[in-house]
Amino acid sequence: MGSDRARRKPRSSRRRWLTGFVVAAGLTLAACQQGLPQSSLEPAGPRAERINDLSTIVFWLAAVVFVLVEGALIFITIRYRRRRDEDRPPAQIHGNNRLEIIWTIIPALLLAGLAFPTVSAIFDLSRRPPEGNVLEVTVVGHQWWWEFHYPDQNIVTANELVIPVDTPVHLSLESAETPGGIAEFTENGEPVPENAVPVIHSFWVPRLAGKQDLVPGKTETLTIESAETGTFLGQCTEYCGISHANMRKRVIVETQEGFEEWVSRMQAPPAEPEADSLAAEGAELFQNFGNGSCLACHGVEPGAGGTVGPNLAHLASRQTFGAGLFETNRENLQRWLDDPRAMKPGVVMPDYNLTEEQIEAITEYLLTLE
């Protein structure tokens, strides 16, 4: 059965092993790309950095163990392979108490050592930030979008969380009681809540913090903080139904002044579109387009929470819509109004069979909501 020919390990074969190892290591290092917007390996804030530091220590420890154990395995397979004439079984060693005790105790000690920084980090990162320069935001998870309330600023927005740099942001996480999946609608286009049971989501922006679940019936908390301005991506990380993959978000970190400017803009009522413009027509349609009203589900006033759908106040100032799916531009908005469910499966908003003109008008109106 099989070849019993002894295989001596020639030098060239050892060189091949070494080359292979170097290539693999090189590829792996090359794999660590830079500038990835959703990478936990590129922390941009103190909390993510604390996690990354801990993970790095553990990684190198694990790497050492890996090299030692796999190295031992490779050594054994080479050193003890059966030579050509070996027929007699070797000495039958049944065990070695001292060795076995050593290799039980050493891993236990290593792990005990790891326990200290781990437990310390758990408590530090779970602690509420001290009173003072803290921004409070309530995050409400819906299927499949994010609602953000700023209680102190009386702002409600969706899917794009704007925060100031170098400021701990204390998130209160809740899961919403709104229709899940595809709801029914009355004659007037008002939604009839179908399955009112909210589901679990998870808030995650890897460059800024670890993740935290949004559990129905409870309010969980998570603190995020960024030391850099810029845009940081994230998405829902607890399977929450058909469009779980499409429940994306961004955190936009502004300077302190930039943030205050954003707050003022958000607190201002929506601009009136020019009279007799296409946008003005769109504003009218927004209130009543015949077989329904956008206002039934979407608010456009600053402090109005989305009843069913996201608050659209200042929609045009958002980089994306549809929970991070589509760039906010004319073409995408029109496609959405035409058939939302073709663009995002399972979404509550139905196709209202709007005419092309209606769609163009409403889109123009939406684009005025800066």
């Binding site: 059965m1 099989g2 794999a31 660590c32 990835l36 917007p37 959703q38 993510a48 604390r50 996690i51 993970s55 553990v58 694990a62 163990v65 796999e70 395995l73 054994i76 003890y80 392979r81 059966r82 079984p89 070797p90 000495a91 039958q92 060693i93 049944h94 070695n96 076995e100 290799w103 891993p107 792990l111 790891l114 781990t118 437990v119 980090a121 758990i122 408590f123 990162l125 779970s126 009681e177 399955n195 009112a196 049971v197 679990i200 998870s202 995650w204 913090a209 993740k211 679940d213 559990v215 129905p216 019936g217 994230g234 998405q235 990380t237 607890e238 399977y239 929450c240 779980h244 499966p345």
Partner: protein, 625 residues
């Protein structure tokens, strides 16, 4: 044994007697045949689960993939997980438990042969029931872990099939667990003390206890889920006072022991293969046994490490971090003992040996990534990302599946009487090793770079593209290696060279009897004088472990068997029976009744009750047998 004389009627139907032909497979109570049934059926599900995986990988090979829509993807990833865990790894382990346990302890069959058949039929019918969902409204689409309250309110029958289907296959494993506990305690040959049993038998025992205690918990969780979905109970409805996290607790109190149920059998197999092909005994047998039991025991104390982001609070998180870290200690013991077994040995790199070594190499990686999960803040980044997917595939595929393939090759000569093709075996191994690592190694990076789990597509510009493509190439490489395996099996069964009782110079009792074994296994129940009893019949050892062969210690030959066959009037084997199949057949009908219309439950209940009733009245073996 050929077709026997017809038996007198003792019940409404005649007792089946055939030992050959298709019908004999339906009524068999022979543990070896049941083992083969389990093996073939779970391999078929492996192919189905593999195809599901290939579809997933094709969809994810590029951003915004168009092969699958969200709904199809969600059904596929759910079924892939359910299939691989409940319809592949668990029953494949059961195949080995079934075939080998009696042989390794010197018994003629398990304690409850008909119960054994019952387990198998429930597994087969339960698996078919689960798969019938594709045709009857949609396959489960809530993930294999079915987190409430999503799972309790997803529309359609998909998750009804989840709740009921899993319940059915769970019964198979529970019943099996009772059988193996009693078998291992009670049916051992004289002299086979617990500390002389092969490690594989020990792992069977530990796994059986884990099943015994873990399955009831998920049974209750599934009843509660079914209750919420079908009856309108409020177990997971927060607005009524329910707690969604209760599902997670109950699921993972089952789920964590479950992962040890998935890995310990393969560890047992590796503990048999390594000594044989190192020609040395297992290093530190008591420690390996103890470590296995410790893992089983400690496994009950770590479940909430699946819930570090569920809001349990820092105290609970810290406690579970610590318990999880420490379960690495007994795991490490096993790995070091395996290395110690090979150290100083004379290593023969047959296909089973390659898979066993591959197991050790891959499991080290999976084990290390597991330790990184126990570092709670790190897990806050890793949880629900592809980093986790990488971890559990390294331990379940690089671990369990590699170990199970190793076992398949190792005992192939025993159960078939033939030799497999060694070159094809090696090709399978290397292709699978390379494909496996190509598929799952990049996933560590994908997870850390921000790719969540359970998403049917991902956007451009996130940096996920290249590694997803590599993973997909790897997946198809795995598929190719599986094809090589199938070709090898078919050809070898048809034309492989006949083999002897002991082709590997083995150490344990199954190698003392012919290949394939006769119906009754042992002509004479052996008296066991030592651990690795067979080895000690073949070789003597001095104090320093030096070995000399003993001339008369070889295994039973074919000629011995022919004589024995005619004279086995002292051996009473259990007779075949159709009651296990009848009773098992009731369960899917009851399942359809729960999901669709209670009318269906009536024939189901009848089949079950009549089956159990007939079974209880039927003797194990008829008079004169």
């Amino acid at each position: 044994m050929a077709i026997a004389q017809p038996l007198p009627r003792t019940s409404v139907f005649r007792r089946p007697t055939a030992t050959r032909g298709f019908a004999s497979w339906l009524t068999t109570v022979d543990h070896k045949r049941i083992g083969i049934l389990y093996g073939v059926t779970s391999f078929a599900f492996f192919l189905l689960g593999g195809i599901e995986a290939l579809l997933l990988r094709w969809q994810l090979a590029t951003p915004d993939g168009q092969l699958l829509d969200a709904d199809s993807y969600n059904q596929l990833f759910t079924m892939h997980g359910l299939t691989m865990i409940f319809l592949v790894v668990m029953p494949l382990s059961a195949a080995f438990f079934n075939y080998l346990t009696p042989l390794m302890i010197g018994a003629r069959d398990v304690a409850f042969p008909r119960l054994n058949a019952f387990s198998y039929w429930i597994f087969l019918l339960g698996g078919l029931f689960l798969y019938s969902s594709w045709f009857l409204g949609g396959a489960p689409d809530g993930g294999w872990f079915g987190y409430a309250p999503l799972s309790s309110q997803m529309p359609g029958v998909n998750m009804d099939f989840y709740a009921v289907g899993l319940q059915i296959v769970g019964v198979a494993s529970l019943v099996s667990a009772v059988n193996f506990i009693v078998t291992i305690f009670n049916e051992r040959a004289p002299g086979m003390s617990l500390m002389r049993m092969p490690v594989f038998v020990w792992m069977t025992l530990v796994v059986s206890f884990l099943l015994l205690f873990a399955l009831p918990v998920i049974a209750i969780a599934l009843f509660q889920l079914a209750g919420d979905r079908i009856l309108g109970t409020n177990f997971f409805d927060a607005s009524a006072g329910g707690d969604p996290v209760l599902w997670q607790h109950m699921f993972w109190i089952f789920g964590h022991p479950e992962v040890y149920i998935l890995i310990l059998p393969a560890m047992g197999i590796v503990s048999e293969i390594l000594p044989t092909f190192s020609r040395k005994p297992l290093f530190g047998y008591p420690a390996v046994v103890f470590a296995g039991a410790a893992i089983g025991f400690m496994g009950w104390g770590v479940w909430a490490h699946h819930m570090f982001t569920s809001g349990l609070g820092p105290v609970a998180n810290a406690a579970f971090a610590l318990s999880t870290m420490f379960i690495a200690v007994p795991t490490g013991i096993k790995i070091f003992n395996w290395l110690g077994t090979m150290w100083g040995g004379v290593l023969r790199f047959t296909t089973p040996m390659l898979f066993a070594i591959g197991f050790v190499a891959m499991f080290v990686i999976g084990g290390l990534s597991g330790v990184t999960h126990s570092i709670v803040p790190s897990d806050w980044q890793q949880h629900d990302t592809y980093y986790i997917v990488a971890h559990f595939h390294y331990v379940l595929f690089g671990g369990s599946i590699f170990g199970l393939f190793g076992g398949a090759y190792y005992w192939f000569p025993k159960f078939s009487g033939r030799t497999y093709d060694e070159r094809l075996g090696k090709l399978h191994f290397w292709l699978m090793l390379i494909g496996f690592n190509l598929t799952f190694a990049p996933m560590h990076l994908l997870g850390l770079e921000g790719m969540p789990r359970r998403i049917y597509t991902y956007g451009e510009g996130l940096g996920f593209d290249v590694w997803n493509m590599v993973a997909t190439v790897g997946a198809f490489t795995i598929a190719a290696s599986v094809l090589v395996f199938m070709v090898n099996v078919v050809r070898s069964l048809a034309r492989g060279a006949k083999t002897s009782a002991d082709p590997w110079d083995g150490r344990t009792l199954e190698w003392t009897i012919p290949s394939p074994p006769p119906h009754y296994n042992f002509a004479e129940i052996p008296t066991v004088r030592a651990r690795d009893d067979f080895w000690h019949r073949k070789y003597t050892e001095d104090e320093s472990g030096r070995v000399t062969p003993v001339v008369a210690g070889a295994a039973t030959t074919e000629e011995d068997v022919e004589h024995e066959d005619e004279e086995h009037h002292d051996i009473h084997m259990p007779d075949p029976s159709y009651w296990p199949l009848v009773a098992a057949a009731g369960l899917p009908f009851i399942g359809y009744g729960i999901i669709f219309d209670w009318v269906w439950a009536v024939p189901g209940a009848l089949l079950l009750l009549v089956g159990l009733f007939g079974w209880s009245l039927e003797p194990v073996a008829e008079e004169g047998h």
